[in-house]
């Protein structure tokens, strides 16, 4: 009856992924939910706090098995973050789980004051981030969250690219005593990292090396950069690809090294180009006196085009084809 929804990947991109031996895995959301469930089983101090979001957060089974470790507050995100701060201050290991759009806009003051300023180490989990909720419109997009939280002291920001990064971020979070924001989407992801890769907050992961263009990408855009790099290889363009999973603190060393080794830089993020990863890189490079050609790929400051996530990505050039074209135009 209705036409099939467009895929996140063109047939050509899927072919390149296959050549690279990449396997499609589950959504980072599922990986998060399982990881948190495991942590909570092992430690009854681990608490999930939700705002009518346990279904969207895939925490239904968690709630059934560990009803005492899930605090449900109804549709009240400000309350969610305030209560999470209180729980954390009393020694609980708290994951506050809500759609990224509401968590970081509605409850921004609670994040700034009750979590960050008062230094209550809540783990803020922004689900269905970026334009995951595509066709629900801008109320449901979080294209401001990285910018908003970058402007707040005492919080780290992690945007995992694949299941490995998602699992690692959620696990590492449990041990940390500093506020943390992790955001991811709900679409299945290719596994981009090899077994045995190391994950450390603040330390990007280099996926391949090259001297012409460096793609510095974050979150679920990394795969598109990787595919673009592979497609450019056939055209004699060699690319470095960094998975910049931590937006704050930024991995300055890796960014400077990429800029010194490559002729051009393309940053990629599922976020407005104002105030996100790209501007963070530009600011760092300018102030260090390193000035490669640079293009920031993200969602521009306009009324966001309507459609599902795949439509929006394609429209703004967050695709193998789009990123390869952007890189080539920078080299010209």
């Amino acid at each position: 009856m209705s036409a099939p929804a467009p895929s996140m990947f063109s047939p050509a991109a899927m072919e390149v992924a296959q050549q690279l031996g990449l396997k499609m895995r589950r959504a980072n959301l599922d990986e998060f939910a399982d990881t948190l469930f495991g942590l909570a089983r092992a430690d009854r101090n681990v608490i999930a706090v939700t705002s009518d979001s346990r279904g969207s957060g895939k925490l239904g089974p968690f709630g059934k098995e560990l009803p005492g470790q899930i605090i449900e507050l109804g549709i009240a995100e400000q309350n969610l973050v305030g209560i999470a701060a209180g729980l954390a201050s009393a020694g609980k290991i708290v994951y506050a789980v809500s759609p990224a759009c509401f968590l970081t806009a509605r409850a921004l003051e609670q994040i700034k004051n009750d979590v960050c300023y008062s230094d209550n180490p809540v783990k803020l989990i922004g689900i269905s981030a970026g334009v995951s909720y595509g066709a629900l419109g801008s109320t449901h997009h979080s294209l401001h969250d990285l910018a908003a939280l970058r402007a707040i002291n005492n919080i780290d920001i992690v945007v995992p690219a694949d299941n490995f990064e998602a699992r690692s971020a959620i696990e590492v979070a449990a041990e940390r005593t500093k506020p943390l924001y992790v955001r991811f989407g709900k679409a299945p992801q290719y596994q981009i990292h090899r077994d045995g890769t190391e994950f450390e907050i603040g330390r990007s992961i280099r996926l391949r090396d090259g001297g012409d263009v460096a793609f510095i990408a974050t979150g679920e855009t990394v795969i598109h950069a990787l595919l673009a790099a592979e497609s450019l290889r056939g055209k004699g363009v060699s690319c470095r690809v960094l998975s910049m999973h931590t937006i704050k603190p930024l991995d300055a060393e890796a960014i400077l090294s990429a800029a010194r080794s490559c002729r051009a830089i393309v940053t990629v993020e599922e976020h407005m180009i104002n105030g996100g990863l790209g501007e963070a890189c530009a600011s760092l490079l300018m102030q260090a006196g390193v000035t490669p050609r640079l293009k920031i790929v993200g969602i521009p400051d306009e009324y966001t085009v309507t459609g599902i996530q795949a439509d929006i990505f394609r429209h703004y050039g967050i695709s193998m084809e789009g990123l390869a074209a952007t890189a080539q135009s920078l080299l010209r």
Binding site: M1, S2, A5, P6, T50, D52, S53, R54, G55, S56, E72, L73, G74, I75, A76, Q78, N79, C101, F102, A105, R106, A135, L136, G137, S138, T139, H140, V305, T306, G307, I308, D311, H315
Partner: protein
């Protein structure tokens, strides 16, 4: 020409069918809440609101702001039926570059405000109502809230302000279907009893059957009592009109499978046929009482 209660009931059935058609076509939508508020919107747009495609830009028009924006499919089909735009445009719901996204936006003719994040409609409506008082206008302002939505504190901040400013031009309608995404609102994080809360906040409270065209018409056509904002708590059934969707939380944003869709459409079409049959029988009976057609 004004429609009878029965004609509006029939229209509600047809609009429910249309809601399912567009959700099935888009492959996405908020089914349960659209079906629960449909009779409310039908009565508002066909009996109560002084607004039409021609008067939509008039500063004197009545305003309707849908705070529970996710039930946009109900609003879209009612607006299309009232001629704000051709109903075929709804085939583009959720498509690339379509203005018909999954929540209300002002790009669509007839829509007052962009909503979708819950807890925004009542403050905006309160602002429009205050402006109406400042400008000595007699327009009325309506907003539709979900019962789960009432957990958002912004609603209660606006409720205090609306009472403070004596906004008898403001009517909030609560789609009281007792469900939200996770389940029963009273089990999730109860905000009951809603009537006593609104009364304590200085509001005029009325409780109706949210599927009764007659009751909805009566309460929505009249303002709350002198100098108080009014709230209509409309007791509804989420998923109303489709047996297997009624009062089942998972249909909040469930999209029916092909078989479920066929079953749902059949139920609605049977109900439509029954009502049309009764209408026809009634018409014949009336003609009979008149002693046949005048020759």
């Amino acid at each position: 020409m004004s429609l009878t209660d029965r004609q509006l009931q029939l229209k509600s059935l047809r609009l429910r069918r249309r809601v399912l058609e567009i959700i099935k076509h888009a492959g996405a939508g908020h089914t349960g809440g659209s079906l629960s508020c449909l009779d409310i919107l039908n009565v508002l747009y066909n009996r109560v609101l002084r607004v039409s495609p021609e008067t939509f830009s008039s500063p004197d028009r009545d305003r309707y702001i849908q705070s529970k924006g996710h039930s946009v499919e109900a609003l879209f089909v009612v607006l299309a039926d009232r001629g704000f735009f051709p109903t075929e445009q709804l085939e583009t719901l959720c498509r690339y570059k379509s203005h018909f996204v999954g929540h209300p936006t002002r790009k669509v003719p007839g829509i007052e405000q962009n909503t979708g994040a819950l807890g925004h409609g009542l403050p905006i409506a309160t602002g429009v109502a205050i402006a109406g008082k400042l400008d000595n206008k007699d327009y009325r302002v309506f907003t539709l809230l979900g019962d789960g939505e009432l957990a958002e504190g912004s609603n209660w901040e606006a409720a205090m302000a609306a009472a403070h400013y004596d906004l008898d031009n403001l009517t909030a309608i609560v789609d009281h279907n007792t469900l939200q995404i996770t389940g029963r609102t009273r089990d999730v994080c109860s905000n009951e009893p809603l009537d006593e809360k609104f009364r304590a906040f200085g509001w005029d409270v009325r409780i109706v059957d949210g599927h009764s065209i007659a009751q909805l018409t009566e309460v929505l056509s009249t303002r709350g009592s002198e100098s108080r904002p009014g709230v209509v708590i409309a007791n509804t059934t989420k998923g109303r009109g489709v047996s297997f969707m009624e009062d089942v939380a998972k249909w909040h944003h469930g999209v029916p499978s092909d078989a479920e869709y066929a079953q749902a459409i059949k139920e609605l079409e049977d109900a439509i046929a029954r009502m049309e049959g009764e209408e026809e029988g009634k018409r014949k009976n009336d003609i009979g009482k008149m002693g046949g057609w005048p020759s």
